[in-house]
Symmetry: D3
Subunit: 128 residues, 6 copies
């Protein structure tokens, strides 16, 4: 039987692989102590429970994640995961293909929005 | 039989209790006169028809409102109602519990987004 | 440190309190063995991580859950949680108040839909 | 100053024009007395406050309503309003044009869903 | 049989009529060559396939588009299409009526958000 | 330059590969002639413009499609694409992994809904 600690550590490791950094709980002075539980939940639900599973490779999962976040219209998280997708080896051309898929299934406004964020990520990647 | 005027006044009073201020129609020069009807609708649908009803207390309603706005991904309104929830006596710890609930039911990205706004509200509350 | 087993057991107990029954994993012949992990995730994310926390009482949480599910337009889960809300002591009048709140914030179609499911639950509760 | 009664009556009249029938509150035995308030809210928010206004004609409003309900994925209300749109003089060809618009903006799955409901309405209209 | 070129040109012409400008593909240095396909898809799905069709006039389509974008909570696209609606002859009063309709069907938060963007457009139109 | 005919044919071929059948326009007696354009739009936007592109393989696209449809809560289309995903070689275990990912990002209710449809598809696949 695994412990919650295992799950959390496994999640942080997946996050490190995806984003090249550790985005674990960083308690802020305005947060109550219980906010640590919230940060754990974020890491455990997405990273410990899903990203750390081996059934689908991380490149595929990052494409799926970008598609979900674009469909939800979740701006900030979407930009982070477009970068994550490129970290996992998704090419710009493949991201364009994904955005065309999103346009058909989630509607053009969601894809236009995601395309604008992709250009921001690309500019940062190109060092412009 | 109540009049629309009653409904509107009742709504403004509920709004005053919740937000500590009166956010009724403030006509702007660029608005057509009919915009006054729009502002009335906003106050009447939410405040006159719901917040002013006695069946559920205002603290409970403010938790429900935060959950709905987080699920919709409605940024600005969400921040206003996180503050409103604290005005109604919701503690930071209880808001954290609500965010954990939202993470499970509406997905982690919606809860992450709401948590960021909560930190902004908390910083303002703490006078930082 | 708690173990995943604790979390799961805590979740099942909360589910039992809310629904008067144990809705834990019931493997079906068509499911692969890994589906057990999926059922655990469902219990753990919602029940183990949130419902089992003591910060907000279960009656409040059930009102919040109904509001989220109505906003999402999630039919089947919504009906289950309307029943759960009544199990936690929410009165029919309080549920009506919640539906009026949902009409204002999530729009009338979401509330109409929830009201239809509420009538189904009420008929079953009344033994009609 | 108008009274709530005016608003409600005005709404019922708009509903009668649109649907060719009066869909006002029909209390069911399982409903608590307060459910009458909920039915009033449904009529007042949509019909008394919007459909009864003269700024946009009812044909235009019915096209807008179908588009919103398709975007929300609200099945039952959507079918009722597709019929309403035809009652207001929208032709089948115009509804097809609307569905093509919805496909672009809300995504193909929402339009496919609406097209299936349109075929059901059309079969009923054709007496098949 | 039309060619894809026809469809794209037809779309650009509809866009020109609606927005008073040509918003066709403007390749940015950070974009891969395949991004041109994405821009074509945006123009073709919305403008070539829908706006260029004659069944519904452009004024009606612009009201429908504003309603969809408000329902989706798509901020930037919504502002562009509020301006487009006014270009097509929608008056400020008619836009207010549309926002009241959106409040009823998509909920007050979506309408509040759209009203804020409308005020921005109106200020720009008034040259303030 | 390709013609619309190419696009449509390319789309039908992708659809045939994915679903093992041709789901092109089948005019029903209740449909106006213009409905043929609607069916073309459905095929062209999703299949001709996206599925037929070579940048992402069809297995990956089918996982992305299931994730989008689950996030939208689109019942019927979701079931069709769960079957499509299995046609493209996605294993039951991989689908479970996808559902766990959806639970984290789009919330447990969306994943529970998709899991119920997956069991229906699995029963049909197993010949039960």
């Amino acid at each position: 039987m695994t412990t919650d600690g295992d799950r959390y550590e496994r999640g942080l490791e997946a996050l490190r692989t995806l984003m090249g950094r550790d985005r674990g709980p960083t308690p802020a002075p305005e947060e109550p102590p219980s906010a640590a539980d919230l940060h754990r939940v974020f890491i455990e639900h997405c990273y410990g429970d899903s990203w750390a599973r081996p059934g689908l490779d991380m490149k595929t999962k990052s494409l799926v994640t970008v598609a979900i976040l674009a469909t939800l219209g979740a701006e900030r998280e979407l930009k982070i995961h477009i970068r994550g997708a490129h970290n996992m080896g998704v090419t710009k051309d493949q991201l364009v293909d994904l955005l065309i898929h999103i346009a058909g299934y989630s509607g053009v406004p969601r894809a236009v929005h995601a395309a604008r964020l992709a250009r921001e990520v690309w500019r940062e990647m190109d060092g412009r």
